[in-house]
């Protein structure tokens, strides 16, 4: 990790304001499975469902634990609806 990156407050999840340090600290505290880390930090819980944060977090996780990125992401499931949907659309059957 470059010094300049480690020093600054680096947001990796813009949905939930999760920082690079949050990820590093959780792994150092002993969160040793990526899916648990993801749920603990709520990565992928926001409106974008992890489009920007997941790969970054998985890379850091792989680097710090020696595990593979592909294995880290293997349990992740995208949930419908893919983008946020106003509840009135679903409740009224489509009319606005």
């Amino acid at each position: 990790m470059g010094e300049e990156v480690a020093r600054a407050v680096t947001i990796i999840c813009r949905c939930n304001d999760i920082t690079l340090d949050d990820v590093i600290n959780a792994i150092k505290a002993g969160v040793d499975d990526f899916e648990v880390l993801r749920k603990y930090l709520r990565l992928g819980f926001g409106p974008c469902q992890g489009r920007s944060c997941l790969l970054i977090a998985a890379r850091i996780y792989a680097r710090l634990t020696g595990k593979r990125i592909a294995d880290a992401l293997s349990e992740y499931k995208v949930r419908p609806p893919i983008v946020p949907v106003p509840v009135r659309v679903l409740v009224s059957g489509g009319e606005e």
């Binding site: 002993g30 499975d33 648990v36 469902q49 419908p80 946020p84 106003p86 509840v87 409740v91 009224s92």
Partner: protein, 380 residues
């Protein structure tokens, strides 16, 4: 003494913690996937003791006391903000009065509210369509994932061994004892075995030694919205008089979770999406709290109620084996019962009987004798 716990969720972790507190040092937890990958991370994080059977009320009341102790001991988070059960029909209030009297008899301070009092507990309630409510101020909610990870890190620091992504395929017996568990990563030997692997998992493991456990995983479909400021004041608002008892809870991070018991295929795969059910799940709650019609749905997921014929858990020894115990079939209440599960299973292993006698009613024997427990309020 080596204790092998099959199932790395809330029940398994609390069983390990309680055994450790009483001096057991060789504890192995075997988990098919990752920490809490079954019901422990798929639930909505709520707890209550206002049930309709003495077994549930007594054990859950004790469990909440233990949760409060662990909040201080392990730095967990939980909040007692109450459950609000809404009545739409006048006759439901009679049911609520009877339930409240029953709860009060067991020291659970529920009370019946009129519509104005209910609106005070949950601002924005549509008073014109409700007849009253039942309120349980001792119920509450917690951030599940955070608490589970804290408990996990504590157990790791105490020296509990975890084997993840290790699936138990069968138990091996000799002279009415379990000798070992065959797993996808080799054989694990032990002196005592505890199965806490959820409904179907526990059923399949017991089937390997020809024991039948009547439990089925009923599919549930919670829906979560984008985060909002606090709009739901109690831990849970439940629409008692609508089929499938729809409810809403708001997480510590602001997301509103809606769920309703819709009919579905039991043990449906975790990827069998029922987007069609989202509208029906939320509609009754919007009638009760109209401001919720403005929220945006973020995503939905599937979880299971590992359900027994009488909607109560199965605890204790598995006859005729001398060193096998189970904790399964929580029927939607495994998280809230976690701490008491640990205490009871540790009691059975170390003392041969539970420290709370009423728990004896929840052993597997009841499915043979036919003395099932009765429960009429299964939501949340």
């Amino acid at each position: 003494m080596r204790v092998v716990i099959i199932g790395g969720g809330v029940s398994g972790l609390f069983t390990a913690y309680e055994l450790w507190r009483r001096g057991v040092r060789d504890i192995i937890i075997v988990e098919r996937k990752y920490l809490g990958s079954g019901g422990s991370t798929r639930n909505i994080g709520c707890f209550r003791s206002s049930f309709t059977s003495p077994e549930h009320v007594v054990l859950m009341k004790k469990s909440i006391e233990l949760w409060l102790n662990y909040r201080d001991e392990l730095g967990l988070q939980l909040k007692q903000s109450g459950y609000l059960w809404i009545a739409r029909k006048p006759e439901t209030l009679d049911v609520f009065k009877k339930l409240s009297a029953f709860h009060n008899e067991y020291g659970v301070p529920t009370r019946v509210l009129d519509p104005d009092e209910a609106e005070h507990v949950q601002p924005g309630l549509n008073k014109s369509i409700i007849t009253g409510a039942l309120f349980d101020p001792t119920a509450g909610r917690m951030p599940v994932l955070e608490n589970l990870v804290k408990l996990y890190l504590k157990l790791k620091s105490l020296g509990v061994t975890f084997h993840y992504y290790t699936e138990v395929t069968k138990l091996n017996t000799s002279n009415y004892r379990i000798k070992s568990a065959s797993t996808s990563r080799g054989e694990i030997e032990g002196d005592v075995f505890v199965v806490t692997a959820g409904g179907r998992g526990t059923r399949e493991i017991l089937a390997s030694i020809n024991i039948k456990l009547p439990v089925v995983d009923e599919t549930r479909h919670p829906v979560i919205t984008e985060p909002y400021v606090e709009v739901i004041k109690p831990a849970l608002v439940i629409d008692w008089d609508t089929t499938g008892a729809p409810y809403v809870t708001q997480t510590e991070h602001g997301g509103l979770i809606f769920a309703r018991n819709i009919s579905d295929v039991h043990e449906a795969p975790l990827t069998s999406h029922r987007v069609d059910a989202i509208g029906a799940t939320i509609k009754p709650i919007i009638e009760l709290i109209p401001v919720l019609r403005h929220v945006n749905i973020l995503r939905y997921w599937i979880g299971y109620y590992e359900t027994t014929p009488d909607h109560h858990p199965v605890y204790g020894p598995v006859q005729p084996y001398e060193n096998l115990y189970i904790a399964a079939g929580f029927s939607g209440h495994g998280l809230m019962m976690g701490p008491i599960t640990g205490v009871l299973i540790a009691d059975w292993i170390l003392n041969g009987k539970p420290s709370i006698p009423i728990a004896e009613n929840l052993t597997m024997e009841r499915f043979i004798t036919g003395r099932l427990v009765k429960e009429i309020a299964i939501v949340g």
